[in-house]
Amino acid sequence: MRARKRWLASACACSALACTTALERGEQVYQAGDRAEAIAVWEKIDSAELDYASAQGRIDAVAEERGQLIERYLQRGRYFEERGRLAEAVLDYRLALRIEPNDRTTLAHVQELSRRVAKGRAEGLALFRAAFARDDLAAARVHVSSLRVLDAFSPEVADCQRQLAEALATRIEASLARANDRLDAGRFREAESAFRAVLELDPQNVTARGNLAYIERLRTESAPAANATPDPTDPDVAPRPRVSTRPREFEIRAEGYFQNALGAEASGDPLQAIRYDLAAIDADASHAAARSHLAALRRALDAQVPGLLEAGRRHFQREDLQAALDQWELVLLIDPGNSEARDYSARAQKLLERLEEMRAAPPPSATAKP
């Protein structure tokens, strides 16, 4: 009885397999992620067969999708390569190669880029280690930043970054504590010097920048009292400022972001300035200067919106999703309510997510074929 059941089960399985048409088999291969193999299966369907027209339709659709995917990965690779993010570029080029293994040009380019990454990483790590060994944390920070751009995936670089972050945190914390002590004691010159020491290690440190701005304001406000007699026992003690209370931590941070915004604008990066202004407002919604600076920047940049939208569209048409997204995100920085940019961004984001989901899937060769 049991043997008969087994026989029946296997007979059913066999007949099910036999009933699978070439069209369905191709679909299964496609679902497993192997587009080229799926097309090959469909191409074997004879023109006399009933499924021929359907198969031709699928071949066209999947071939187009395959070509689009390859182009998107290649464009993403180029996007990263142009920005010196070579390891990320190699990754995307390799993902394109996974779909089109016979692309000799891309393979040769990947080989060349991989050599450059390996060489640059070895040189960068040597520079970092030398700087770290001589306790030059500012230089070590610069080297690690470059390495992170070059090879975002290197475990060695990640370790160096962690090592540096720990050292920097200790050093910055100590400097900030010293600076705050001096500030509390009214020793403004010493406090200023300690805050500047923090900026040497971390140029955008918002606490240091915010406090330096506060000291500057104190100086300005206490200037009329400059003739007052200083304490003869401590020449560094400034006259008691008229500012009654020291700003709270979040106010200091907001001011720090605002100072960074001014710095970014001065160095010709108004979009980065907008980001800093937004961070300032996020830290302290009542920061009036950041609000008015942000409004002024947005007014000044408003004329660039159509050009940025168009540039995004051009990138999108070339399947360069990341570059398109960059342009539209800039539009949204300038004009957060821009519905066109919002729609475009959402669309590009969705396509990028799809690409990213595919990156996490096993390669076609690793999938079981029906």
């Binding site: 990754l91 996974r98 000799r104 393979l107 050599r115 290197s154 990213e356 989901e357 996490a360």
Partner: protein
């Protein structure tokens, strides 16, 4: 408890001694330990004479609980307290507990009641994280009448959900796995972590694991595809089961298989041997290469040689004279990941190009000088038997006749022999 035991030890023998004059059952009843008096049934009728509860304090920062304390009432009429809770200072207050003892002046509200709470649908009921509640405590008398004096209100806030652990780091380029590590959360209420993963930074994060222990700060995500990109987040779990906000997304990519070797080409050929060269692969942890040969007549390819990573050439000395073969090269890294095969290189093996011509002085044999260049000498066979050895690419067999069948075999420098030539018949 100890005191009552000691008291029992003293009194019971005495009681037993007087058993004849005392009712033992009544005695036992009197000496038996008494529990708290049952709370009287609370009545709607208020008692305006009871003073309000003083010193009510609510302690904030506890995990999904708010402890309350107040001063014990000095009025002997007070039989206990009624505790009410509200989500705002203005109320409405709802009953949550009764304490039937004047000196029971501590209560921990964990929200195990049916009164309204801010967060509905929270698993397991109870108070939520980071929520503020307002309390009032009113006395009641022995007949169950609740004091009507305006009660003082105290508020308390439960602890916030735990912060994500610091310094979450994902290690890339590991074979088919990603290692995660982070610093232990500084909050001692943290009892573990939740690790989640998504294929895209803004995508849906699926929970991978719940790790118990504040100091267990590593996780290995295994069985991943080669060259897969993943994003990871780690959140802390506290003793009340609350899962905090996750860390920022950390990206990691698994190790890719080596790139297929490039530049595979034939560098040299001798009789019975093809030498191939290729460009060195770029992977820093390459273990070596596998050179694969496919003979024209064979169904399956076969391994020619396994070569170290330092190799960039190899000789296949097992090809027949003039045989057509195809080669491919596969790179293998230290973790055993194999590249796709390189492009195929097809080649025909070198032949002797043996000729046998009858002349007046015998049969003149000649073969390729380039083939001869690779040999120390060449054995000459007629009808399967060696008749001579030559060190140049020709030989005249004085006794040879038309129709004789000749073959030559090159002898290599080390004394080994190359494959034999095809048979040439003297014409």
């Amino acid at each position: 408890m100890k005191r009552s035991a000691a008291f029992g030890a003293l009194v019971l023998p005495l009681a037993l001694a007087c058993a004849s004059s005392l009712d033992l059952g009544k005695m036992r009843e009197k000496l038996a330990p008494r529990g708290p008096e049952p709370a009287p049934q609370l009545r709607d009728e208020p008692n305006a004479e009871l003073a309000r509860v003083e010193g009510l304090r609510a302690i904030s920062g506890e995990l999904r609980a708010i402890p309350l304390r107040w001063d014990a009432s000095r009025e002997p009429e007070v039989a206990g307290y009624v505790i009410d809770r509200a989500a705002s200072a203005d109320g409405p207050f709802a009953y949550i507990a009764t304490l039937a003892d004047r000196f029971q002046t501590v209560y921990v509200d964990a929200g195990r009641d049916l009164a309204p709470k801010r967060t509905l649908g929270l698993a397991g009921g109870g108070l939520a994280h980071a929520e503020t509640y307002y309390y009032r405590v009113r006395p009641f008398d022995r007949s169950g009448r609740v004091g009507s004096a305006l009660a003082a209100i105290a508020s308390g806030t439960t602890a916030a959900k735990p912060a994500p652990p610091p310094s979450v780091q994902a290690y890339s380029h590991l074979p088919r796995r990603v290692a995660l590590r982070w610093q232990p959360a500084s909050d001692p209420n943290v009892t573990g972590y939740v690790v989640s993963r998504s294929p895209s930074p803004s995508g849906v994060y699926a929970e991978l694991a719940r790790i118990e222990g504040r100091h267990r700060t590593v996780y290995l995500d295994t069985a991943l595809p080669d060259l897969g990109v993943f994003y990871y987040r780690v959140a802390s779990i506290d003793a009340a089961g609350g899962v905090g906000d996750p860390s920022g997304a950390e990206r990691a990519v698994t190790k890719g298989e080596p790139l297929p070797p490039t530049g595979l080409r034939v560098a040299a050929q001798t009789i019975g041997a093809n030498t191939l060269q290729w460009e060195a692969n770029v992977e820093p942890d390459l273990r070596g290469y596998r050179l694969i040969r496919k003979r024209a007549e064979a169904k399956e390819p076969e391994l020619v040689a396994e070569l170290p990573a330092s190799a960039s050439s190899a000789t296949d000395a097992a090809v027949s004279v003039g045989e057509i073969v195809a080669y491919r090269l596969i790179a293998i890294d230290a973790d055993g990941l194999r590249s796709r095969p390189s492009d195929s290189v097809e080649i025909a093996g070198i032949g002797y190009e043996l000729r046998a011509a009858s002349t007046a002085s015998g049969v003149r044999l000649s073969w390729s000088p380039s083939a001869q260049a690779g040999f120390r000498e060449t054995r000459i066979l007629r009808n399967g038997e060696e008749i001579a050895r030559a060190t140049s690419a020709s030989y005249v067999h004085a006794g040879g006749e038309s129709g004789d069948r000749y073959q030559v075999i090159g002898v290599l420098a080390d004394g080994s022999e190359a494959p034999a030539s095809r048979i040439a018949e003297a014409e």
